[in-house]
């Protein structure tokens, strides 16, 4: 592993009107990392993801991916380089069978180049690749889950479908925006090994999460945001021991005692 970071974010700031959603956030992700981004509601986690992946324009700062300055590139070009993301609110194409949802990413230039779909023009070859990807991510082929309409799938499968949409691009870095939220305990339990499997396949992950317990099991480094500021960085123990992080989550000690 080389020491150059895969993704380097420097001093990114974004203001919505008078609200400073991000103020000077920096982070580095190395190849093979699973970086967790946590923080209370409204702390700017999703804004950070949006700024990195080009869905909003940041006011200041730079984003470097594979040593290329991708600051404020359009999202599709960033995705084309191999940096893609899932969405917090999943909106699959409900009327289509699940595997047809993957045709869109498989149609992109990146998927064609990467050879996942060899573009031989054979009828149905994209469908086959799509079903293979879904099977790999936990859709049971035998019970015809990939063929069922997306509208009939439970949340757990929809989250996987959203992740599969990213994997169809053969990405190098995937930013997962709250893949654990809304899942049952058992669904979450089956999601954790999946994330580890992805890392072993060489995909670097950034996970934005509210579910701290599951995140602590898989993330090797964490970043804590509060009011758009980075207030902590390190392993889960280091982060949780930090006074600022405790204050951000539970309030300051004086405040806590004032309620008691």
């Amino acid at each position: 592993m080389n020491n150059k970071p895969l993704l380097k974010v420097e001093n990114v700031s974004k203001a919505f009107g008078g609200v400073l959603a991000l103020s000077g956030v920096s982070l580095e992700v190395h190849h093979g990392d699973i970086l967790g981004i946590i923080g209370p509601n409204g702390s700017g986690k999703t804004t950070l993801v949006n700024a990195i992946t080009g869905f909003i324009r940041s006011d200041r700062g730079t984003v470097l991916f594979k040593d290329r300055n991708i600051t404020n590139w359009p999202p599709h070009k960033i995705a084309d380089l191999g940096l893609t993301r899932t969405f917090q609110v999943m909106r699959p194409y409900y009327s289509l069978p699940a595997f047809k949802n993957l045709i869109v990413p498989l149609f992109s230039g990146r998927a064609r180049r990467s050879g996942g779909w060899r573009g031989g023009g054979k009828l149905g070859s994209r469908d086959t690749v799509a079903i293979d990807i879904l099977e790999e991510i936990g859709f049971e082929r035998d019970s015809y889950v990939p063929y069922k309409p997306a509208s009939s799938l439970p949340t757990g499968y929809l989250k996987r479908l959203e992740l599969a949409r990213c994997l169809a691009l053969r990405p190098e870095l995937v930013i997962c925006d709250e893949v654990f939220s809304g899942l049952s305990m058992s669904e979450m339990a089956s999601m954790v090994p999946l994330m580890e499997k992805l890392r072993m396949e060489g995909i670097t992950l950034i996970m934005v999460e509210h579910r701290l317990r599951e995140l602590f099991r898989i993330a090797n480094r964490l970043i804590v945001l509060n009011f758009g500021l980075k207030i902590g960085e390190g392993t889960s123990e280091e982060v949780m021991d930090s006074k600022e992080v405790k204050e951000a989550y539970f309030g300051s000690e004086e405040e806590v005692f004032s309620y008691v």
Binding site: F87, P92, Y93, Y94, R165, A168
Partner: protein, 340 residues
């Protein structure tokens, strides 16, 4: 229910449409093939035979041409609205651009209609797409408003600058060599574009178009440039309108400001509502009905618009899914009375 019989109950069977239309079962027996082919044959055969059947009624032959022009616009509208998510009110603009392109090619370069119509389709489509490019980031009602501005603006600019013949338009264009050429060019163009578009939307690229409509963020995150695909879709839709406009110019031997009229923006939308959006065939049926109705109502004079509006409202209130969606559903269902 009024017609409920005693001891009887209505039984409804949904045929296994997926099984019947997909795979080897569909060609296993001639009845199955007929089941699939009959509705298609009815439309194709009906449209191809229509000029022959109407040959005793020259007036209705001309009406058929107008129906085809509206139908071209309507399938373009349906494709753009229901598969790409751009509600375009620019139909009048497409027709006008197509008509003026054909007229200029014919009057200045002296090209015959058989060359000007395809050229005007292509050039007109390119012009419309380039002019619409700045509006492509817009969606829904915002795109509708901006696209409505185009036909209004174009007519005023031609009037104010007095270019392309000003308010008189460009007169004295060559007509088609005969009525048959005019009608078969339009009917064939309609059938071919219907076939191509219906094919396009079920191919993989069609799924990308639908993706742009349903969830453009996910399409962007899938490394696909949505502006490119919106541009392609606008090109397809506007080229269809320009084809109609170019033929219209040669039918009337004239290209003028009224070809930027709002009729060409509004009637295709009404036809899509009546016929059933998202089916592509529905808008064609809608156009046939609406144009025919509007001709039949000519005797009523001013009341015509009122009756027309009532019929439209009735459709929207009572059959908002549209004729084609309703007919497809009924075609795939059996209903029968069974003895209890």
């Amino acid at each position: 229910m009024a017609n409920q019989k005693k001891d009887h109950r209505k039984e409804r069977l949904d045929r296994g449409i997926k099984v019947r239309t997909d795979g080897v079962y569909a060609i296993s027996h001639w009845t199955e093939m007929t089941y699939l082919l009959a509705p298609r044959a009815l439309l194709i055969g009906g449209l191809l035979a229509a000029p022959l059947i109407l040959s005793y009624f020259p007036y209705w032959q001309r009406v058929l041409s107008i129906i085809c022009i509206y139908a071209l616009l309507a399938i373009g509208f349906d494709f753009l609205a229901n598969y790409v998510g751009l509600v375009s009110l620019g139909g009048g603009f497409y027709v006008g651009v197509g008509a003026y392109c054909a007229a200029l090619l014919n009057s200045h370069l002296g090209l015959p209609p058989i060359v000007t119509v395809p050229l005007a389709t292509l050039i007109g489509g390119i012009i419309c797409t380039i002019l619409f490019l700045p509006c492509l980031p817009l969606r829904g009602v915002y795109f509708a408003i901006v696209s409505l501005m185009f036909p209004l603006l174009a007519a005023r600019i031609i009037e104010a600058l007095n270019i392309f013949g000003g308010t008189d338009g460009i007169m004295g264009l060559d007509g088609f060599s005969s009525g048959w050429v005019e009608q078969y060019v339009l009917v064939c163009a309609l059938l071919v574009s219907l076939f191509v578009l219906r094919r396009l939307v079920i191919e993989d690229v069609g799924l990308v178009f639908r993706g742009v409509k349903d969830n453009d963020q996910a399409v962007k995150a899938s490394a696909i440039n949505i502006t490119t695909y919106k541009g392609i879709a606008v090109f397809i839709s506007s080229a269809l309108g320009c084809l109609g406009g170019a033929t219209l110019a040669h039918i009337y031997n004239w290209a003028g400001l009224s070809q930027f009229g709002l009729d060409y923006s509004i009637i295709p939308i009404a036809a899509t509502v009546v016929g059933g959006g998202g089916t592509l065939v529905g808008p064609v049926i809608g156009c046939i009905l609406l144009v025919w109705l509007s001709e039949e109502l000519r005797d009523l004079g001013t009341l015509r618009i009122a009756v027309y509006a009532l019929v439209l409202t009735a459709f929207i209130v009572f059959k908002s899914e549209g004729i084609m969606n309703f007919a497809t559903r009924k075609y795939q269902q059996f209903e029968r009375w069974v003895h209890i």
